[in-house]
Structure formats: structure tokens, C-alpha cells
């Protein structure tokens, strides 16, 4: 039995003539945190979106808990894979509480009382219990992103995907969201994090994958990637961002 939570095998994605992913394979062990780093346009976000099939791959296999889900029903796959977006994507016409209750009721078919209980619990976990009756627009960016994380967690996913979750935040709000994510990693959740926060990757990741031009150029422990980079492209990238 495999202990890998998510596994991508030889994924290819093209947009027209542009090859965004050119044969990418990545295995994420259960209970670990994998950070994907790399320059803009390297295909990091696309790779993440393939994992829950928001982007269907042209070829390659997607495995979840060892089982091939490349052609399975995408809705049931996505219930098992939570995703947090750069721009939060909370539902602006519903209150913070309703943002979490809605998918619980619609997707997991929970009764209203149960859904509300879970939603309040998850909001409390991210420190925003008192924001339940607000509309998202009344919250700061950092608070909105924490609500988005609570919304994804409420679905009890086997793995959480973070797509540049702090890139749209004001600098002073980044830390709170990163702390929350680090806390999830510590609790043993399986995380795949596309990020520009090298400090976070070094501190929290079990594995770091460096992507450039549609391929994973190098992957390894944070130590191996940040202190012992081998490929010239990674050395160059690190010299620019560190």
C-alpha cells in the first residue's frame, strides 16, 4: 500500500501552442508539506490545478491515495482535495458563515444545524468566530483568506492545495496566514503549497520542488534546495529571490 496522498505522473498541459507542463511528475507523501517554487509562468499554478482537475491534463495520470482518478468524477475527487486561491474567491453575496455552510449543505448534504456547527467550529479554528455574520468585503484580505482556508477545511479534505495564498495580501497580513498554514502542517495535514515565500518553504516544507519552463528542475529537502542547489537555473532563481 502506497503512502502517497497525491501523485502526478508525467503530466502534460498545453494552451494552444504553448506547452505549460512538459511531463511533470510529483509524489506527495501523506502528512507532509510540499512547496512548489519557481519563476512566474513556470507552470506551478497549472500543476496545482491539475491535481484537482480544475485544469484537465492533456496526458498523464493523477492518483489520489494510490487510486487513479484521472478520469473519475471530478466533483467527488474535488471533495477530497481542498483548494485555497490567491484571490480568496469567497462568495461576496453571502455572509462569512454562509460561505462555509453552503458547500457543506450542497456537497456533503449535511443538515443545516450540523453544517452551521461545523462552520462555526472551523471559523473559531482560524480565529474568526466573531466574523460569522459579516459579508466578506467587510474583512481584511488576511481575514478573508483565513475564511477561505476554513471553508476548504470544513469539507474534511485529504489534501489541501494552496495557490499563492499570500501573494495578494498586504505585507503585514501575510504572516498571519502563513502561521495558520504552518499550524495545519504541524497537525499532520497534507499540504501542497505554491508560494513565493521562501522563508515559509524553508521552515515548513518537508519537500521543495523547483519548477521552470514547465518541468520540475530539482526537488529535495529544503536544505538540499536552498543551501545545496545544483542546477544553474535554481542557483540563478535563488540569487534573485533571496
Amino acid at each position: 500500500m502506497s503512502s502517497s496522498s497525491v501523485e502526478l505522473r508525467d503530466i502534460h498541459v498545453s494552451f494552444g501552442t504553448l506547452e505549460v507542463l512538459r511531463g511533470v511528475s510529483l509524489a506527495v507523501e501523506q502528512g507532509t508539506t510540499t512547496c512548489v517554487i519557481g519563476p512566474s509562468g513556470s507552470g506551478k499554478s497549472t500543476l496545482l490545478r491539475v491535481a484537482n482537475r480544475l485544469q484537465e491534463p492533456d496526458s498523464g495520470e493523477i492518483l489520489l491515495a494510490g487510486e487513479k482518478v484521472t478520469h473519475a468524477d471530478p466533483d467527488s475527487l474535488r471533495q477530497r482535495v481542498g483548494m485555497v486561491f490567491q484571490h480568496f474567491n469567497l462568495f461576496p453575496h453571502r455572509t462569512v458563515l454562509d460561505n462555509i455552510v453552503l458547500p457543506l449543505r450542497n456537497v456533503r448534504k449535511l443538515a443545516k444545524d450540523e453544517a452551521v456547527d461545523i462552520a462555526r467550529e472551523r471559523l473559531a479554528e482560524v480565529g474568526l468566530a466573531d466574523k460569522a455574520p459579516y459579508r466578506p468585503a467587510a474583512l481584511s484580505g488576511g481575514q478573508q483568506q483565513r475564511v477561505a482556508i476554513a471553508r476548504a477545511l470544513a469539507m474534511d479534505p485529504e489534501v489541501m492545495l494552496f495557490d499563492e495564498a499570500t501573494s495578494a495580501l498586504d505585507p503585514e497580513l501575510v504572516k498571519g496566514v502563513l502561521e495558520l498554514m504552518a499550524g495545519l502542517a504541524e497537525r499532520g495535514l497534507t499540504l501542497v503549497v505554491v508560494t513565493h515565500e521562501m522563508g515559509f518553504a524553508r521552515r515548513v516544507a518537508d519537500k521543495v520542488a523547483f519548477m521552470d519552463r514547465g518541468v520540475i528542475v530539482e526537488e529535495g529537502t529544503p536544505g538540499a534546495i536552498f543551501d545545496d542547489a545544483r542546477s544553474p537555473r535554481l542557483v540563478q532563481f535563488l540569487s534573485q529571490v533571496l
Binding site: 474535488r78 484571490h87 474567491n89 462568495f91 456537497v107 459579516y134 459579508r135 477561505a148
Partner: protein, 249 residues
């Protein structure tokens, strides 16, 4: 000046036409416009969703329908449907011009309202659909619960404008020939104007139209302003928040 007043504001004729305007005309105008608005809104939503579909066999019929009904003069559509269907499909639809007039108005309104809804739904950020789908919601659930409510809210002013047009366009069923009890505002004003050779009854009918349409116009402005300013929390919540010092009013 006297002649001007007598032609447009002859109180005797206005007094004479007003009971009919209010009892028969107003009611029929509101029925014609109201029922068409409801049917047109339902059909318009169906057209909008079809027009946004990824499937060509759904998109094309919606496109063709919209092009035809938006491209024809309303009066032509009303006559063709009102008289044509009454003649050709008498057994199915009957020959009563009144429901046929409503049908024609509805079909025209659906084309415009469909475009309004489509624009609104399309203006909702793609991330909303993606976030819904990423949570495991089906396309249908995501559209119905997340995307469409936001899209509709954004085009409410345009929608009310369309209702105003419907109130005015309902006068066109006049050409179908209606029973005395089916006459709407314009027809009632027009009938007495023709009998008396005086325009005052039409002025009176115009006044009643304005009583309907001007408040609607202001409703548009009100909604528009509310949407522009943005409503972050409900008024009750806002009061609570202000009272508890969590936000500045």
C-alpha cells in the same frame, strides 16, 4: 392659447376618459406588461444560461432566437404572432388577441432580458465558479447558488429599464384589435380622441403611463446607487457593528 388648452387639456374629455383609464386601461396595461415581464424573465434566464453553455447545440439556438427577436420591430412581431398564430394555429392558441399579445410581448422581452442576464452572469469573476467547483459543487449548483445570484444583482437596473419598456410597448397590442373590456391605456385614450377629434384623452392616458414608469425610473436610480456604494452587511448587522464599536459608520 385657448385653442392649445382646448386641444390638449380639455377637462371635460379628460374627466370623461379617466374612469375608463383607471378601471379598464390601467388594469389591462399592468396585466399585459406584468405577465410579459414574468414570462420574459423566465425565458430570458433560460436563454442566458443556454447562451453561456459550452455546448454548441444549446448556444446556437439561443443566439439565433435573440438575433431574430431583437432585430425585428416590436410592432411587426406583435402583428405576425397576434394575427398569424390566431389564423394558422387557431385550434391550439385560439383567436383571442389578448393572450397572443402577451405571448408576443413576452417573446420580445425574453430576447432583451436574456442578453441582460448573460452580460451580468459573464461579469462575475471566473474565480467564483472555480472556487465553487473546487469545493466539489456541480456546474449547475455553482451557477444557481453562486454565479447567477451575483450576476442578476449587477444587472437589476437594466432589468427594471426593460420592464419600463414593456409597460410602454404593451400599447402596441392595440393593433391586434381588442374587445372593449381588454383595452389598455393607449387604446382607451385613442378611442375617445378619435371620437371627439380632441387629443386630451391621450394626454390623460400619457399621465397614467407616467404614474407607472416614473417611479420605476427612480427605482432604477435607487438600485443603481445602492449597488455602486456597495452593501457590505445588512442594515441590522451594520447597526450592531457600529454600536459595538467594531466598525466606524
Amino acid at each position: 392659447m385657448d385653442q392649445f388648452l382646448d386641444t390638449f387639456l380639455n377637462w371635460e374629455y379628460i374627466w370623461q376618459v379617466f374612469p375608463d383609464l383607471l378601471k379598464t386601461g390601467l388594469l389591462n396595461t399592468l396585466i399585459l406588461a406584468g405577465v410579459s415581464a414574468v414570462i420574459g424573465t423566465v425565458l430570458g434566464m433560460i436563454l442566458a444560461v443556454m447562451g453561456l453553455s459550452a455546448k454548441r447545440w444549446l448556444r446556437w439556438p439561443a443566439r439565433i432566437y435573440t438575433d431574430i427577436f431583437r432585430g425585428l420591430p416590436a410592432i411587426l412581431t406583435i402583428l405576425v404572432i397576434g394575427q398569424g398564430l390566431g389564423t394558422v394555429a387557431r385550434d391550439v392558441v385560439g383567436t383571442n388577441p389578448y393572450p397572443l399579445g402577451i405571448l408576443a410581448l413576452s417573446l420580445i422581452a425574453a430576447a432583451y432580458i436574456g442578453e441582460i442576464f448573460r452580460a451580468g452572469i459573464q461579469s462575475v469573476e471566473k474565480g467564483q465558479l472555480e472556487a465553487s467547483r473546487a469545493l466539489g459543487m456541480s456546474y449547475r449548483s455553482a451557477m444557481v447558488l453562486v454565479v447567477i445570484p451575483q450576476g442578476v444583482r449587477r444587472v437589476l437596473p437594466a432589468l427594471v429599464n426593460q420592464f419600463i419598456s414593456l409597460v410602454k410597448d404593451s400599447s402596441l397590442v392595440y393593433f391586434l384589435g381588442l374587445l372593449a373590456s381588454q383595452r389598455e391605456l393607449f387604446r382607451i385614450g385613442q378611442d375617445l380622441a378619435a371620437n371627439t377629434g380632441n387629443l386630451s384623452p391621450l394626454v390623460a392616458a400619457g399621465f397614467v403611463y407616467l404614474v407607472i414608469t416614473v417611479p420605476l425610473t427612480h427605482l432604477v436610480n435607487y438600485i443603481d446607487k445602492r449597488l455602486r456604494v456597495g452593501k457590505k452587511v445588512s442594515p441590522d448587522e451594520e447597526l450592531d457593528l457600529v454600536a459595538s464599536g467594531k466598525v466606524q459608520s
